[in-house]
């Protein structure tokens, strides 16, 4: 593999180093922000509203200056470069299509200001429209297009001048669910076709999981975890991530003892064994997270180290699985998902059953902010 011989840093396209940003000189909108984006990667910034995603994108695009730290694109600091010289394609949340220009003129704009010839421009515009499957819409005004079509035009315009880095700020936020899923697929297809680096901002965890090579989870201006979607789901390292990504049962407790990477944690009256993820000491407050699908209901006795009594509160039929809410380990909303197979042990609301899980499916994380909740 020739790639392996290349110097590792050659593959880093964008680098945030110790970035901090404050708009008012007091509150930090972004801080201690370190992130490397590989060339050709699809990286999502995922976080709730106000977590600093747009701020990061604006600093990368050059519309905001970092208060501390440095941003490098292709190894060079872009501190002194104005937005127009960064050569970054950008898709805005409101699309920012120019309403007084036709679709073709919108796409030609970045080429015109670069002084490109008419023929060259026409060729590139046609190619970009074909890429987003909007041939034949050249003469329309943005106001005559549907939301999804406007979205495609915005993407085509961000790509038409062939930037190798494209930023998208919640580009699908204004679309309905069906269109959103279609556009997710389209954007991924375009990403694969062109091989550009995409930094994508969203607050929709499912969207981030579906689209990205890696996801950076943000919270209050800090990165909680950067990882590929699968590991974010399977191996959350922070209780915030465990809560934000997918569904997790979270148990609050105190560390009793640590043996190698297995922890004994007191949760209410019970003692749970779990795998150590975040560094901690005996006596520390902690959050345990367990995926509902990893919980067995009425298992063969003795199969699991963690086994507890649980009273079934309700059972919901969700197509291919049953979703069972139980009272267990001091919580009333403990959720288990079990496959909906014919002949599966009949459980009824109000029954008391045994539930169990292995220590490796149960992760010891930081206490999290809602520890006492």
């Amino acid at each position: 593999m020739a790639n392996a011989e290349r110097h590792a840093s050659d593959d880093i396209h964008v680098e945030f180093e110790n970035i901090g940003k404050s708009y008012d000189g007091r509150v930090m909108a972004v801080q201690d922000f370190n992130l490397s984006v590989r060339r050709g990667e699809f990286l999502s910034l995922l976080g709730p509203s106000g977590s600093g995603k747009t701020t990061c994108l604006m600093m990368l695009a050059g519309f905001e200056a970092p208060t501390t730290g440095a941003i490098r694109i292709a190894g060079r600091s872009v501190h002194a470069l104005p937005p127009r010289k960064r050569g970054i394609g950008m898709v805005f949340q409101d699309y920012a299509l120019f309403p007084h220009m036709t679709v073709a003129d919108n796409l030609a704009f970045p080429l015109d200001v670069r002084g490109m010839s008419r023929d060259e421009t026409r060729g590139l515009v046609r190619r970009a429209l074909r890429l987003v499957r909007l041939e034949g819409f050249e003469g329309r005004r943005p106001g005559q297009l549907s939301g999804g079509q406007q979205q495609r035009v915005a993407i085509a315009r961000a790509l038409v001048f062939e930037p190798d880095l494209v930023l998208m700020d919640e580009p699908l936020g204004a679309l309905d669910r069906h269109l959103r899923e279609e556009m997710q697929y389209e954007i991924r297809r375009i990403h694969r076709t062109l091989g550009v680096t995409i930094v994508y901002v969203t607050h929709d965890q499912q969207e981030a999981m579906v689209m990205s090579d890696r996801v950076a989870v943000l919270r209050d201006g800090r990165i909680e975890q950067v990882a590929p979607p699968e590991s974010l789901y399977e191996e959350p390292e922070r209780s915030f991530v465990a809560r934000f990504i997918g569904e997790n049962n979270r148990l609050h407790g105190r560390v009793l003892s640590i043996e190698k990477d297995i922890c004994r944690v007191r949760v209410g009256e019970d003692i749970v064994q779990a795998i150590l993820v975040a560094p901690c000491e005996p006596g520390d407050a902690t959050t345990l997270s367990i995926r509902p699908a990893r919980i067995a209901v009425s298992p063969r006795p003795g199969l699991y180290t963690n086994e507890f009594d649980a009273r079934i509160r309700d059972i919901t039929f969700v197509g291919d699985h049953l979703r069972i809410r139980v009272e267990a380990c001091g919580r009333e909303d403990f959720v288990a998902k079990i496959p909906n197979m014919v002949g599966h042990g009949a459980v009824l609301e109000g029954d008391v059953v045994r539930i169990g899980w292995t220590p490796t499916d149960c992760r010891v994380l930081d206490a999290g902010e809602d520890h006492d909740a």
Binding site: R84, F92, A96, F98, V113
Partner: protein
């Protein structure tokens, strides 16, 4: 279900009727305060029955007159009879005034003749009238009488554009020293254009600043723009007198700074400069408000998008921002221009003799010379100019945006 549909449409009709009813006071108000005066003004500019009603027989006879030689005896007799009646009914003054407007100097001819005719006895004809005043022997006098007797007339409009009709019916320009209105129209258009341009140059950056400021600061700035509306127009205009007069603040400062010698103070008011400055000030909000209302709908992201696409600030402005602000530029300019064309108080107060505009002339004819026909014709011309501009603007900005075409 047809029954249901009928019911609903009946309900709809009732709702529509009620809506129309609510608009009725407004329609009445517009009708009484706007449409009626406008129509009566336009009528007055082409319709003047005073002379025709007072001297019906004379005017009828003059219609058949060849216009080359002094009219026949019958015309003199009719004129004498009818002037006498007018004298008794005390309408002679009105008649004389109107004839005098057609040809200067005839007022006294008519008034005096009428009075003397009363004293004369027996048959009155050509000889006795020429006796009273030799002007009756001149063809021009009879032409003036015939012109003033036109019930429906274009003479006010001709006068308003410095034209006059010769006795042979041909239309020619007034003598150079009597051409007043066309130069005044040109001056008014020029001043209006200049004021509009100045308002645009001053108002555009201001509106931009307000539209793209954070909401609180924007609101404050907008309030500052609106403050002049809470001040009387007279106060605003007269404060310019304080500032600009010979011993005013501006001149004092210039003298103190040594830019101007004390005995060579600038004439900044009671001339065109004063009109220009004060009108720009008074009309500026009418430029800023439409500009603002368009600009604050232009998303900030458009300029960011242009920059990220590689445009320099200038390119981004001219190709992305300016075209989107054009409806505001059009609306603001049109508003200022229309207001400027008809502007009256400010030029009257600070314009001196060289800073007067066409509406000051309209006011003069309304209030002083009492030539309402001419005043109406001048007003009609202004109205037509403005309407043309309005339609032009509507076409240019894509039609129907202002609800007209």
């Amino acid at each position: 279900m047809p029954a249901k549909i009928t019911m609903r449409s009946a309900a709809e009709n009732r709702a529509r009727l009620r809506a129309a009813g609510l608009a009725l006071p407004l329609v009445a108000f517009v009708g009484v305060t706007f449409v009626a005066p406008l129509v009566s003004m336009l009528v007055r500019s082409v319709y003047d029955p005073v002379v025709a009603d007072a001297l019906p027989e004379t005017i009828a006879l003059l219609d058949d007159w060849d216009g080359m030689n002094v009219p026949e005896e019958a015309v003199f007799e009719a004129a004498a009879r009818e002037l006498l009646v007018a004298q008794e009914e005390r309408t002679i003054g009105q008649i004389a005034g109107r004839v005098n407007r057609v040809q200067g100097g005839l007022r006294s001819v008519l008034v005096v003749s009428a009075r003397r005719l009363r004293d004369a006895s027996g048959s009155v004809g050509r000889d006795s009238m020429v006796d009273i005043n030799p002007a009756w022997e001149e063809v021009e006098t009879w032409h003036a009488l015939r012109t003033a007797g036109e019930r429906y007339t274009t003479r006010h409009y001709l006068a308003a554009v410095d034209l006059t009709r010769l006795p042979d019916g041909s239309v020619v320009r007034q003598a150079p020293d009597r051409r007043i209105y066309v130069p005044l129209f040109v001056r008014t258009l020029m001043v209006s254009l200049g004021v509009t341009l100045l308002c645009l140059i001053l108002g555009y950056p201001l509106a931009h600043l307000i539209a793209h400021s954070p909401p609180r600061r924007g609101g404050l700035l907008l309030a500052l723009v609106l403050v002049p509306f809470w001040t009387s127009l007279l106060v605003r205009t007269t404060s310019w007198i304080v500032l600009l007069q010979n011993q005013g603040v501006v001149n004092d400062l210039l003298v103190a700074a040594g830019f101007v010698a004390d005995d060579a103070r600038l004439a900044l008011i009671y001339n065109m400069t004063g009109t220009f400055v004060a009108m720009t000030h008074v009309l500026l909000p009418f430029m800023v408000l439409p500009l603002y209302s368009v600009m604050h709908t232009i998303p900030r992201s458009h300029m960011s998008a242009a920059a990220s696409l590689g445009a320099r600030p200038g390119q981004a402005f001219w190709r992305v921002y300016w075209p989107q602000s054009l409806p505001g530029v059009g609306a603001g300019s049109l508003l200022v221009f229309i207001l400027a064309i008809g502007y009256y108080i400010t030029p009257a107060l600070v314009g001196g003799s060289t800073g007067q505009l066409i509406s000051n002339m309209v006011a003069y004819h309304m209030q002083t010379s009492l030539n309402w026909g001419l005043a109406s014709a001048l007003g009609g011309i202004i109205l037509v100019c403005v309407s043309i501009l309005y339609i032009l603007y509507d076409r240019v900005t894509g039609g129907g945006r202002l609800g007209v075409t």
